[in-house]
Symmetry: C2
Subunit: 361 residues, 2 copies
């Protein structure tokens, strides 16, 4: 440990963080498979697989050697320039290391196991519209996440300890201020909008055959830049994006044969996430500088493509003729303007996505 050369230490440290990232990417493949293709009978064993991988990744990420290497690098010339990749990487690895070393491996494994089971039960409960099925699992998760927060430590607001993982440095108080400011403007704006006549959204609720929806959404995702040589689109109960690593990013959606927006804007949204993942520097994979920087930034990319681009008039000037080609009898003689108004209809909803949860099967 003494006399460790900081440059060699940095290289060794990055080999360790790469191993952890590769191990976590294996979990990502298993998580994706769980939600896309895994048969029901595989759920319990999948929990065991994910718990083992999570435990191994935790062991590697918290190995005393990581601490030794960090100590040998910090305050040396390797990190002298605070704007360098190396300095940023060391700051982030230190942050993650301090956080991870507080968590017992048992808790990490337990969370992997419990959330795997809960995911399966949630899908079942959702399809039956039976919340009581899911409730005990949610309670288990909450208890474990509270334990995680308390183990990590916080100054008053427990959620701060968890939020830090997604939006580093942000506190519950910051978010509250942001939301209060937003709602001061949004609430009257929504009232103003909904007090006028609502656009007719009937055009979105016609018959859209699922296979054609898939082809149309895939061609739009490819057109905006999602690389299908390095990714794919599948069906899940809840849409998501999972970047496994260089060259492999999976996005998912769900189709409603009688509601166009659900799958299509979901795909634009996930393709936005996916393009961010596909755009990460491949040669920095496994280091903080090769990973997304926060969930907020990630979400900004998805919503930018879904809403700023995907609900804009120029976008549909291009795509509406193609939509008519893909669904000639469905669109019929309806106009671009009618369609454009419908996809931009505003209504309050309990969840952020298209308010179609209740009727979606």
């Amino acid at each position: 440990m003494n006399n460790m050369n900081p440059t060699d230490s940095y290289a060794e440290l990055l080999r360790h963080t790469r191993d952890v990232a590769v191990l976590n990417s294996c979990s990502a493949v298993l998580g994706w498979d769980q939600q896309t293709y895994m048969p029901q009978g595989g759920a319990a064993f999948r929990g065991e697989q994910l718990a083992l991988l999570a435990g191994l990744a935790h062991q590697k990420a918290t190995a005393p050697r990581i601490g030794e290497l960090l100590a040998a690098i910090e305050n040396t010339e390797v990190v002298a320039d605070p704007d360098s990749l190396a300095a940023a990487n060391i700051r982030e690895i230190r942050h993650s290391y301090n956080r991870a070393t507080k968590l017992p491996q048992r808790l990490v494994e337990e969370l992997a196991r419990v959330t795997t089971t809960a995911q399966q039960v949630w899908q079942e409960a959702r399809s039956q519209n039976a919340y009581p099925l899911f409730q005990p699992h949610l309670e288990q998760i909450l208890a474990l996440k509270r334990e995680e927060a308390d183990t990590i430590g916080h100054t008053g607001e427990r959620y701060d300890a968890l939020l830090d993982e997604y939006e580093p440095g942000t506190t519950t108080a910051d978010i509250q201020t942001l939301f209060e400011e937003l709602s001061r403007h949004l609430v009257p704006l929504i009232q103003q909008i909904t007090s006028r006549s609502t656009p007719n959204t009937e055009i979105l609720r016609r018959e859209y055959p699922v296979e054609r929806q898939r082809l149309f959404a895939e061609s739009a995702a490819a057109a905006i830049g999602f690389d299908f040589q390095a990714g794919r689109l599948d069906v899940t109960t809840h849409p998501f994006c999972s970047g496994f690593g260089p060259g492999d990013c999976r996005i998912t959606t769900r189709y409603n044969p009688r509601f166009f927006s659900e799958a299509f804007f979901g795909v634009l949204h996930e393709a936005g996430h996916g393009m961010y993942e596909q755009g990460l520097p491949k040669d920095q994979f496994g280091t903080p500088s090769g990973a997304y920087c926060s969930l907020g930034i990630h979400e900004s990319q998805s919503r930018f493509w879904e809403n700023q681009i995907g609900r804009s008039f120029p976008f549909w000037q291009h795509f509406f003729p193609r939509l008519k080609q893909a669904f000639p009898t469905t669109i019929g003689s309806s106009s671009l303007e009618e369609f454009f108004a419908a996809i931009n209809a505003v209504q309050p909803s309990l969840i952020r996505v298209e308010a179609d949860e209740a009727t979606y099967n």
Copy 2:
């Protein structure tokens, strides 16, 4: 290490072997995904993932602790009854441990990486009928497998060291004797059969829409006992069966819209493998007594269902009316007898499966 209680040691040993099995099952999920759904761009990174998992599993399987535990159990009352599960497990774990500890981790990781790349190249080469693409990868694999054999050691016949992994205790000489005996009977039998008039196989080469083939094959696989709650059927370039673990066994096939036998008998074959996997004692997963005992036994199950059952007259007395229902215009007025003769047509071939490789696209 001294004074270890053999019963406790046995319990601890089985926890270790279970971890190794779970880790290997994660590799199985990644291997399945590689062949079913992975986009092309993911191949290199998949090799890295599989190499890491193989290296970790090897580390765990060869940990000195395993050797200590084995030594603490062997020649104790735990294994006194040679016919007990414990005695069988210890014999098998000792055998695997002695074998695995000879192999350097580098070689294990290299084999995982090289075979992952080779699999992708083989698919590409096969679709282009371009062997030279694949040749250098095959040479790499052969070199590594030779190194593996020499590292393990053998008495003259190098392949014996590798065969032992698939058919424990069997030698190349045993197999040669077996094949010589078989060919003494089979060669004249095939000559006798092919000298007579060949059955007309035209009925198998009509138009069989792929989606209907899938439904028909799935229903037959379910009817003979493959549990689709604990498994699934997908499409790959080369059919296989992969038992991930308790409750999750994947089988695959490939469809030829103008050759019925290819997918259907492939599915019966893989379902045979799959039912063997699904029938393994779940509570013994992760121990030798919970795993298949040899590839020969595994293959006996698949070929039993494919040929002894699947090409029998009673089987088609039941399924031929269903085949007619599934493909009414294809089968038309053709008879059960005509179909039965066609599926049992005999002809020499360079590969064991239906001799349709050359024309399959």
